[in-house]
Amino acid sequence: MQAMPAGSLVVLAVMLPVAAATLAPLLGARGAQRAIVLGLLPASLAVAAAIAAAVLRTGAAIPVHVGGWAPPLGIAFGADGLSAAFLLTGAVVMGATAIFAGRTGLGAAAGTGRAPLAFWTLLPALWAGVNLAFVANDLFSVFIALELLTFGAIPLVCLDGSRETLAAALRYLMFALLGSVLWLLGVALLHGTYGVLDLVLLRGAVRPDAATILAAVLMTVGLLAKAAVFPLHLWLPAAHAGAPAAVSAVLSALVVKAAFFLLVRLWFGTLPALLTPALAGLLAALGAAAILVGGVMALRQARLKLLVAYSTVAQLGYLLLMWPLVLATGPEGAGAWLGGVLQAVSHALAKAAMFLAAGLIAAALGDDRVAALGPAGRAVPLSVLAFALAGLSLMGIPPSGGFTAKWLLLGAAIETGQWWWALVVVGGGLLTGGYLYRVLSSAIGGEGEATAAVPLAPQAVALGLAVLSVGLGMLPLYSFGLVQVGRPGMAP
């Protein structure tokens, strides 16, 4: 009986945003906005916090059999420490973005006609998608989560209806559809081989035979396309840079992270029997290439939002470095695991802050060319400060969440004798420093005048997210015990 309330919390985490998305068209843009900011936001934060507290208190994952039906017949959800950490991050970023969008609107082009209603309907739909990805425990629910994310994200990318963003949305759609159909093909092969869809049952049954390996490859490629991992990142910069600031923040902070989260679940949770050092090394090599290519491309961008989008490509690369490091440190090595998760969380907070700040800077100056950022330091000092603080976390300067994450990855690389990954971490940090220096040196102390006034409240939202991302690094490491609950390989 004790598990019942915690279990219903996990279901609520998905159903609250679904309810909001369903009601939004009836309420209209204004009403939906109010319902989301005043209702969904505090409720979701409370639910995520309660799930985290329950996971911490019991030291075990919360299992949920939806409708009381146990797998293999029923559908299982579940929340372990990893789910709880991501649910909390999602609630903070989504909530901050909703407050931001409520205060600023969506910009001149996207602020009229049906666009606001589409935004306030699809934002909770995306929220439902990411939360479902974080708690889904079977292959088919994951497919639903992936589709919710696709259908929520693509109309948001082309909210302003310009030719540029329509083309970006179409390209994104092609990659996303390829990703889901590959995932679905993998599901067919696994169900044909084992007759189950449940991730836990599958873990116990899985054998390294041809069908399983083919399924694993298909599903991994599908998720890599959705997570925009090099070389499948080609859709990301135009889509993330072209969308309104509030949309870019959610897409870059959470939507691509959901695919990463599922990749972690798939490999460490369900298919560890197939995870060889060579394969882990291949994934990390893709990550390393993403860090270098994304960093160099970010250095060369003339427009601020494109620079920030390429920075996302690079920062996603760090997440893949986790694979060989977690594998090599074995069951007792918690450092690399925490490093990967902390990188995902601190990047989510920092990148949301950065996109919101970049949007405000562009709104104040009427221009988002990096070379023309001169008046930003005087016109919107808080936004520039938010951008700079978020940048510290992305670079990995202490004390910040990004520093702790990269330090843990670096330490794990050296301890396990894989020093080449340490070189990548350091090199990526230097590239990040380079493109941030370009922005900040242009934004501080330049000539020129701002063309529009920007209110204080949205600037404070961006700054708040940046401070959180930095603040993660000031917490002592033992306070992240939550992330380790239910870690694969850990004794229950």
């Binding site: 082009a109 088919f140 497919f143 639903i144 589709e147 696709t150 259908f151 693509i154 109309p155 082309c158 302003d160 209806g161 310009s162 030719r163 329509l166 083309a167 949305a169 179409l170 759609l173 092609m174 559809l177 390829l178 889901s180 159909v181 679905l184 093909l185 599901v187 067919a188 092969l189 169900h191 044909g192 007759g195 869809l197």
Partner: protein, 95 residues
């Protein structure tokens, strides 16, 4: 008995994948994606038939997945066509 269908499914998946990856025109890629999707649904059909048990003609779980998959593929196709029409069709984008 399911072997011809399995081979046909593999052929559809192969053709579809080739079409999606090798062609640049969005409409051809969209059609190829639908071909690929049909191949995947046929794989589920084969899986369902081979999983027949408890007196049923076929395992109902893969069939349920196919129904969901069809709906999703249809919705995705309409979304892609809507984007294509806005980009290239009579209704001009709001530049």
């Amino acid at each position: 008995m399911t072997a011809p269908y399995a081979l046909l499914a593999a052929a559809l998946v192969g053709l579809g994948l080739h079409g999606v990856l090798a062609h640049a025109e969005p409409l051809r890629r969209l059609l190829a994606f639908n071909l690929l999707g049909s191949g995947v649904f046929l794989v589920f059909g084969v899986v369902a038939r081979r999983g027949a048990a408890a007196g049923l003609e076929a395992d109902p779980v893969p069939q349920a997945i196919v129904i969901t998959g069809l709906v999703v593929a249809f919705a995705a196709t309409t979304l892609a066509v809507a984007l294509l029409l806005r980009l290239h069709g009579g209704d001009p984008p709001q530049d």
